[in-house]
Structures are given as structure tokens and as C-alpha cells.
């Protein structure tokens, strides 16, 4: 039988008809910042390294991580992790355990000795001086090196690490600090210990010898403390005790102590004292943080650390101030504390009011102030001009100084975390490199992160968050680190929980669900990190892919 012309058609010939002409809207891949990325003070993109870890490449994940933060084993232990507060998964079940993953990757890199993905600078590259080998200085040095510049780091002490060594071992073991910093310095950073600014080196000389200077002096001097001008003769302040404990592992004799202050130093020294058998209490003007109702009056310490301190039996007297020291001769036998609140006076200013009739006595033989630290100004007097902070712009450049940058705890408005110091170092290094290479500085990305509502939760399943094992309170003795890291299995399981907010999850949903086969899967990863392209010849613009994209990576635009 002969088929007539109208009775058959050749297969697949509708391809000749471009249904794309029907379209009034087009889908587009639209990367948006994940909240973990937007919130990270160090500039990490956790979503990106979680993806690599999920794909089974922990080393690539670590390289991605250290492209922003070269100290992950350290920050993974001490960072208050605002990334997890921002994490969209927190609105679904529980946020990703990003800090545990960060620590896991940092520890893996140390264990396997993965080299940092940098090469030493060429001999004729401009040379930058970094003063202070704390987190800010080290991060700046590393990022300068990554950008092809030579770096020399100066520090007044004999070892790089700065304030990291005043964090007690139970939180941050010093062998971790040493291991990570040693590996970092081996990348080609020249380190000059025992060089103190204003004694061994001077700003003017550095300015002449080096193309630019980065200052990360930290806050190395304790704020002065007294009660109506009185201090006990054997006064030890918190930061000093922490350093002493870290250097020589011994503390002055005492049975009981009251620590004054609500920052991390106060919590740290209180917990160190407790571990040494000292009955320790904390007195603080501000409030114990309530996760449900964050307030400006909250203690500055990391909430997790406060909780652990309370668990360990440290009593915290919040909204209290010291009214009087009770001395027997020159020896302290107790302090009188009183309830206080911040109230507005008739000029609208906040001031502290002590409430009569609420006094009580703490019988302690030591009072340990830890009420904050200030900059040690030696050698920088001309930069400070009497101020207690270094004032910098958003790129870390000192006002009115062409080639001097600063970062870390000593700059105005800094929150005082290791992570923020790392971020300061990275941003300043970017600015210095651009200036020395006469390149345009890119704008700092301040775009809004993708909100929870832009994701499609139908495609996810609840899954328990990986928790690091925590030593029971009775076993928290001596210097033993109280949290242990995740196993490789736990870490890769945890990485699977990531929603990949605002990025391609490569889940195939758009490819599977397009009724018009107008989403094509590519063989190689595309520059935007996806494996899909839209074939606009056939896409009718229905918007189904955008609705069903679990991670909010597709948006519809009017044609």
C-alpha cells in the first residue's frame, strides 16, 4: 500500500516550528547570594564549599573555603557563626552545622597537609609590610600573596598568632593554632618575630621601604579598672591571666573569684579558673542573651560559650555592678554588688542606675576585671591622634593615609571576632593589590541574600543536623578540648542538607519538568555553575521551571 502525502509525517519535524515566539516571559538563571555567604564576616561562601563536599571532593571544598579564609581550623572552633543564624534551613528544620564543616575541612587539611593554593610571589613584585601576626595580619598577608605580592609580617612576640593564644585550649588547642599558622607561613610569607612597632621597627621606615603597610595591632592592653579609685594590690586582670595560663600553664593561688565583664575574655578566664578548681562567678551589667529576644543590652560573649559556662557551674550575675570592694587591710575578702539597669535620663541619654536595697555580698578572694581591651599605641601615636581606635574606610584604608591600611580588633566598629579580623585582612589585601597593580576596585557586594520564601520546600526532606560531640561537664577538666569534630561521614551527610540557596543544585528538576523539552542538560558545567541551558527557540515561558526550582535559582523576566 502506498501512503499518500497527507497520511504521514517525518519524525521530530516539529523542531522546525519555534514555539519560543509565543513567549512573553523568559526564564533566566539568577545567582543570588546565599544568606550564609552574605552573613560571613570573613567573606566565605559556605554554600559553595558544602556543594563540593557533597560531591565528594573535600580537598576542593577546603580550597574553596581558604580562598576567603585561610584559618578554617581556628575559626571553625571559635567563630560565633552568624552564617548559621542566617541559614535558610533554620526556617525549615535546623540550620546547617556550617562551623562544624569549616572545622572539619580545616582539620582535614592539617591532617593531610594539603598545600594552600598559592604560589610564592615573583622577586620583582611589590613588597607589603604587615604589622601584627594575629588573624587580621595573617589573613592580609595570605591574600596579598594570593594576588602576587611579596609580604613580610612583623610581630612583637616570638610566635605568630597574636590574640589567638589568649583563647584557652579547651576551646582552641594551641597545637591547632600552631599547625594552621605554620602551614600558612610556609606558603611564602616572610615572618619576622620579636619586631615591635616603635621599638625595633618604625612606621616612617616601613613607609619608605615597602609599597604599602597593613596594621593589625589588635587590642593588647587591658582597660583600666577600679572601684571609686580603689583596686586591690594583688589585682590580676583577665587578659593577663589568660596569657599567663597559655604561656606557662599556671595561675596565682586563689580559692574563689569574681570576674567582672561580659565579653569572651571574661567567659574564657572564668572557665579556665573553674577548671583549676576556683569557685568562679561573673558580674556583668548587661543581660544574659535570650535567643528569642536579642537585645543591645546582651553580653558581648558568644551565646554558645555563655551556655557552656553556665553548664559548667559558673554563676553569672547579670544586671549587677560592683559597688564596693571589701578589703581586710590590702587583701580582698569580698565585693558588694548591686542591681543596675540602663535607663534614660531626662536628656534622653542612657545611664546606669543602681537600685538601693538590692546590695549583696560575694565572698571572693580575687576580683578579676575583664572589661575590655584597648589599643597599645606605641609607634602609632601619629595615626591615632589620641583616639582609642584606628579609623578606616570600608576597604580598610586609614583616613588620609595613602598606603596604610588596618584591620582587626583595633579598628573602629569592629565586633572583635577572629572571623571579622580575617575579613578585614582579606578586604584590605584586595584594595592594596588593586592599588599597587593600578587596577579598578570592584564594588563590595552588598546585595540582599535570597529569602526563605524564594525556595521551594516541596523538594526537601527534614534531616537532623550533625552535632559535634561535647564532653559531659564532669569530664571538662584541664586543657582537653571539649568539642570534637565531625567524622568524614557525618560531614558529607551534613553537606547533603544544604539547600544551595540562590545557586544551582543540579537536581534536574527544570530538565525533568519542562513540558516543552526547552531545558537542555549540558555535558560540562556552565560558567554559572549549572548544568542546564534554556533553549529559547522552544521555551514558551510558562514559568514552571522557576516555580519548581528548589533553590530559587531561576527567575522569570518580561521579554
Amino acid at each position: 500500500m502506498k501512503l499518500t502525502r497527507g497520511s504521514f509525517a517525518f519524525p521530530g519535524t516539529t523542531l522546525g516550528y519555534k514555539t519560543g515566539t509565543w513567549r512573553i516571559q523568559r526564564p533566566e538563571h539568577a545567582h543570588r547570594r546565599a544568606p550564609c555567604h552574605a552573613e560571613c564576616p570573613a567573606g566565605e561562601d559556605p554554600q559553595a564549599y558544602l556543594a563540593l563536599l557533597d560531591e565528594g571532593s573535600p580537598r576542593d571544598a577546603w580550597e574553596c573555603l581558604v580562598s576567603a579564609n585561610p584559618l578554617p581550623a581556628i575559626t571553625g572552633r571559635v567563630c560565633p557563626h552568624p552564617c548559621e543564624t542566617g541559614c535558610n534551613r533554620g526556617q525549615y528544620d535546623e540550620p546547617l552545622a556550617i562551623h562544624s564543616i569549616e572545622r572539619f575541612l580545616g582539620d582535614e587539611a592539617i591532617a593531610h597537609d594539603w598545600p594552600y593554593p598559592v604560589t610564592a610571589a615573583e622577586a620583582n613584585a611589590p613588597h607589603v609590610a604587615v604589622v601584627g601576626a594575629g588573624p587580621a595580619g595573617l589573613a592580609a598577608a595570605y591574600h596579598l600573596l594570593r594576588r602576587g605580592l611579596q609580604v613580610t609580617v612583623f610581630d612583637e612576640t616570638s610566635e605568630a598568632g597574636g590574640t589567638l593564644f589568649s583563647i584557652p585550649d579547651y576551646r582552641l588547642p594551641r597545637e591547632i593554632v600552631r599547625a594552621e599558622i605554620r602551614r600558612l607561613l610556609e606558603t611564602g610569607i616572610s615572618f619576622k618575630p620579636n619586631h615591635k612597632l616603635g621599638r625595633d621597627i618604625h612606621l616612617q621606615d616601613l613607609q619608605q621601604e615597602y609599597a604599602a603597610i597593613f596594621l593589625g595591632p589588635g587590642l593588647m592592653q587591658s582597660r583600666e579598672w577600679n572601684v571609686d579609685g580603689v583596686t586591690p594590690t594583688d589585682l590580676h586582670e583577665g587578659l593577663h591571666l589568660l596569657k599567663q595560663w597559655s604561656d606557662v600553664s599556671s595561675l596565682p593561688e586563689m580559692k574563689s573569684a569574681a570576674v567582672i565583664g561580659g565579653g569572651n575574655t571574661a567567659i574564657d578566664i572564668a572557665r579556665v579558673l573553674k577548671r583549676n578548681g576556683v569557685d568562679t562567678q561573673i558580674v556583668i551589667h548587661s543581660s544574659l542573651p535570650d535567643p528569642e529576644h536579642p537585645s543591645e543590652e546582651d553580653m558581648r560573649a558568644i551565646p554558645r560559650e555563655i551556655d557552656q559556662a553556665l553548664e559548667e557551674g559558673i554563676q553569672i550575675h547579670d544586671h549587677h555592678g560592683v559597688k564596693r570592694l571589701i578589703l581586710r587591710g590590702e587583701k580582698l575578702t569580698g565585693i558588694e554588688i548591686v542591681r543596675m539597669r540602663k535607663l534614660r535620663n531626662d536628656k534622653g541619654r542612657l545611664h546606669r542606675v543602681a537600685f538601693e536595697g538590692t546590695e549583696s555580698i560575694l565572698h571572693v578572694d580575687q576580683v578579676i576585671p575583664a572589661i575590655g581591651q584597648v589599643i597599645e599605641p606605641t609607634g602609632m601615636e601619629n595615626l591615632l591622634n589620641g583616639s582609642s581606635w584606628l579609623k578606616v574606610d570600608e576597604w580598610g584604608q586609614l583616613a588620609g593615609k595613602d598606603n596604610i591600611y588596618a584591620g582587626g580588633d583595633a579598628i573602629e566598629g569592629n565586633s572583635g571576632t577572629v572571623t571579622e579580623a580575617v575579613g578585614n585582612g582579606r578586604i584590605a589585601a584586595q584594595a592594596i593589590a588593586a592599588k599597587l597593580k593600578q587596577q579598578e576596585l570592584p564594588a563590595i557586594d552588598k546585595s540582599e541574600s535570597i529569602p526563605f520564601e524564594s525556595l521551594n520546600m516541596e523538594y526537601f526532606e527534614p534531616a537532623a543536623r550533625a552535632e559535634q560531640a561535647l564532653l559531659p561537664v564532669e569530664e571538662r577538666v584541664g586543657e582537653t578540648e571539649i568539642e570534637s569534630g565531625l567524622s568524614g561521614r557525618q560531614a558529607s551527610r551534613e553537606a547533603k542538607r544544604c539547600f544551595a540557596c540562590g545557586n544551582c543544585l543540579r537536581c534536574d528538576n527544570c530538565w525533568t519538568l519542562c513540558p516543552d523539552s526547552a531545558v537542555l542538560k549540558t555535558e560540562e558545567v556552565m560558567v554559572d555553575g549549572s548544568y542546564y541551558v534554556f533553549d529559547y527557540d522552544y521555551c514558551k515561558g510558562c514559568g514552571l521551571c522557576a516555580n519548581e526550582c528548589p533553590s530559587g535559582y531561576i527567575r522569570m523576566l518580561d521579554e
Binding site: 521530530g12 519535524t13 526532606e461 537536581c507 513540558p515 516543552d516 560558567v527
Partner: protein, 335 residues
């Protein structure tokens, strides 16, 4: 915001299209409406059934939008039957292939009109004679191709052009026909329902039916944005809600015995499903007591399904109505 690198050449597009890591029985360029559930369902079916099949396709949307003469979207041997005889044509194709000693599987495609109503007699005969054919019914719950007339698959109280709501009636007076039970009553080896919102489940059922020698039947719930009155972008959402409310039970029958169902983890109120669709908008007139009664009636139908098919899930289940569509990085689906 960066955008996708769409700067790939048209040759690369041609290369990509030819090298997609799945079999596509239907090409692009077909004339289905935006967000068509049936077009998606047909592609998913051919993807799972694979290239070694022949299709008999009853008259209906699917036939019309895939074959605007002289073009064809099909990349498979495909024959257009009349509205009423897809079952008979498929039976004949199967008998002819058998006579030639070939093992190509024959599929019969029909809409709900061609299956529930007009082609029902031919379907019943095909099932009764035990032909080795997989009959797929794309159920969009009305005669969409001819202008949204009610079929025996149209759900109770839905508005169509031949069941308009008004002073006499609140949309369709009658109930949706339980075609699966009728088909299963032919004592065939396998009959199942599936939904485009659950592509893995759908493909799994197609593969299962393909492996069975004998008549098999799969009914696929396929939203019609135009006929149901919802945004084409919401097709999957609507289909998913039909399952999650219990209005469209996703079940499997062997020899008319219930052997599996997709449990509902969190049953949703039927209003979540109804309010997305213009065909039910008359049910949301709060001053009309008949509307309120119909909403309660439809909820009762859903509750009845949940009870009758024992659809209530117990805790978390990877294959229940919440778990069956979960995605993983790298596109690893379970089917």
C-alpha cells in the same frame, strides 16, 4: 546578578539536543499550551518506555498538538486512531507484530474523553482479549481539545462549558468515574494511577508495566492550565495538591487487588487544591450555602479516598507524598 552563559552557538544547541542523557519520544516545537501537564506526562512516559515501542493515539489534545500536519513531534512509530478506537487499533498493532514475530511493545494513548467515555468499549475489549498493550490515559478531567466540555472524568462540582454553575447546579452534578476499578475489574495484571507531580513514581510505574506481558493500564493525572483555570507555572503545584489532599489517590492494583499506594504524610485541606483553579471558583462564594456544602462534600470525598485506600502515612517515608519528589544534588532521582 550574573546570568546563565547562553552564549552557546546554535550548532552546540543542536548537538546538545541530540545528546540528551535520556530518550525523548516527543520533540520540542509541539503546540501544547504553556505549562501543559499532558505534554509533560507524555514525554515522561516515552522516556521510561524507551525507543522500542509503537503508539496508537486516540483523538484528543495530545494527538492535535503533537501532529500539526505536515510535522510530527513524535520520534516513535505513531498512529492516530479515531476518538473511540485506540484500544482496538493498539490490539490490532499488537496482533500484527506478534504475527511477524516482533517484540516491540505497543502503547495506546488516550485522554480521559477517549478512555472514560468514547473509547471505553474498545478499551474494554482490548483488556478482555488480553492483548500485550500498555494503555496510558492522560487524565485532564474534561474534553479540553474541543473546548472544555465535561467528561465522565470531570470531578464533582467542577465548572466546564457544559456544566456551568448557576441557579440550578454548582458545576458538574455527577461524580468522577472510578475508571481504575472498572479497568481492574477486567482482572488485568497491572493497573495504576500516577501524577505528573511525581515523575519518579510515574516512570517507575511505566517501567513496571512495560515488563509485564499482557494488558496494563496507567492513569496519569495531568493538569490543564487552560481548562482548569490556573497559571501554567502552577501545573506541578496543582497536581501535587491533588495527591496531597487525597482527591487523586496514587495507587497500584494487581489483578484488581490493591498492592500499593503513595501514603499522604500531611493531608492538606481540599480548599488548598480547589482555590488555585478557576473551575472551582463558584465554590468560594461564602454567601452561597450550596457552595459551602459542596466544599464540605469534596472534603468528604477526599477523606473517603484516604480511608478507603488507607492513604494516611505514618511518620516520615521516603516514598510518601512529601518524600517521593525530594531532590538531590547531581540529579540523582530514585527512578
Amino acid at each position: 546578578m550574573s546570568t546563565n552563559n547562553q552564549a552557546i552557538t546554535s550548532e552546540q544547541f543542536v548537538h546538545l539536543r541530540k545528546n540528551q542523557p535520556r530518550f525523548e519520544g516527543i520533540e520540542s516545537g509541539h503546540r501544547a499550551c504553556l505549562g501543559c501537564g499532558e505534554a509533560l506526562a507524555a514525554r515522561l512516559v516515552t522516556e521510561a518506555a524507551g525507543p522500542d515501542v509503537m503508539i496508537a493515539n486516540a483523538t484528543g489534545c495530545l494527538e492535535v498538538f503533537t501532529t500539526p500536519w505536515p510535522e510530527s513531534a513524535w520520534r516513535l512509530p505513531w498512529m492516530h486512531s479515531l476518538f473511540e478506537n485506540a484500544g482496538a487499533i493498539a490490539a490490532g498493532m499488537e496482533a500484527a507484530l506478534k504475527a511477524q514475530g516482533k517484540h516491540t511493545k505497543v502503547l495506546a494513548f488516550g485522554g480521559d474523553g477517549g478512555t472514560f467515555d468514547i473509547g471505553f468499549q474498545a478499551l474494554s475489549g482490548m483488556l478482555e482479549r488480553g492483548h500485550n498493550v500498555l494503555y496510558v490515559c492522560f487524565d485532564n478531567e474534561a474534553y479540553m481539545n474541543t473546548g472544555i466540555q465535561r467528561s465522565s472524568s470531570t470531578p464533582h462540582a467542577a465548572m466546564t462549558t457544559t456544566s456551568p454553575p448557576g441557579s440550578e447546579r454548582m458545576g458538574k452534578r455527577h461524580l468522577k468515574k472510578d475508571i481504575l476499578s472498572i479497568v481492574a475489574a477486567h482482572h488485568i495484571p497491572y493497573a495504576a494511577t500516577a501524577s505528573v507531580a511525581y515523575p519518579s513514581d510515574l516512570r517507575k510505574k511505566i517501567r513496571r508495566a512495560m515488563a509485564i506481558e499482557g494488558p496494563t493500564f496507567i492513569q496519569i493525572h495531568s493538569p490543564c492550565p487552560l481548562g482548569w483555570g490556573h497559571d501554567g507555572a502552577d501545573s506541578i503545584k496543582v497536581a501535587r495538591l491533588a495527591v496531597q489532599t487525597g482527591l487523586f489517590p496514587v495507587i497500584e492494583l494487581e489483578r484488581s487487588e490493591l498492592i500499593g499506594s503513595m501514603p499522604i504524610r500531611n493531608p492538606r485541606p481540599v480548599t488548598d487544591y480547589l482555590e488555585l483553579q478557576q473551575r472551582f471558583r463558584h465554590l468560594f462564594d461564602k454567601d452561597d450555602t450550596r457552595a459551602v456544602e459542596e466544599l464540605v462534600h469534596i472534603q468528604a470525598l477526599a477523606d473517603h479516598n484516604i480511608k478507603h485506600y488507607n492513604l494516611r502515612g505514618e511518620g516520615m517515608d521516603a516514598l510518601d507524598s512529601d518524600g517521593a519528589d525530594s531532590v538531590r544534588r547531581g540529579g540523582m532521582r530514585w527512578a
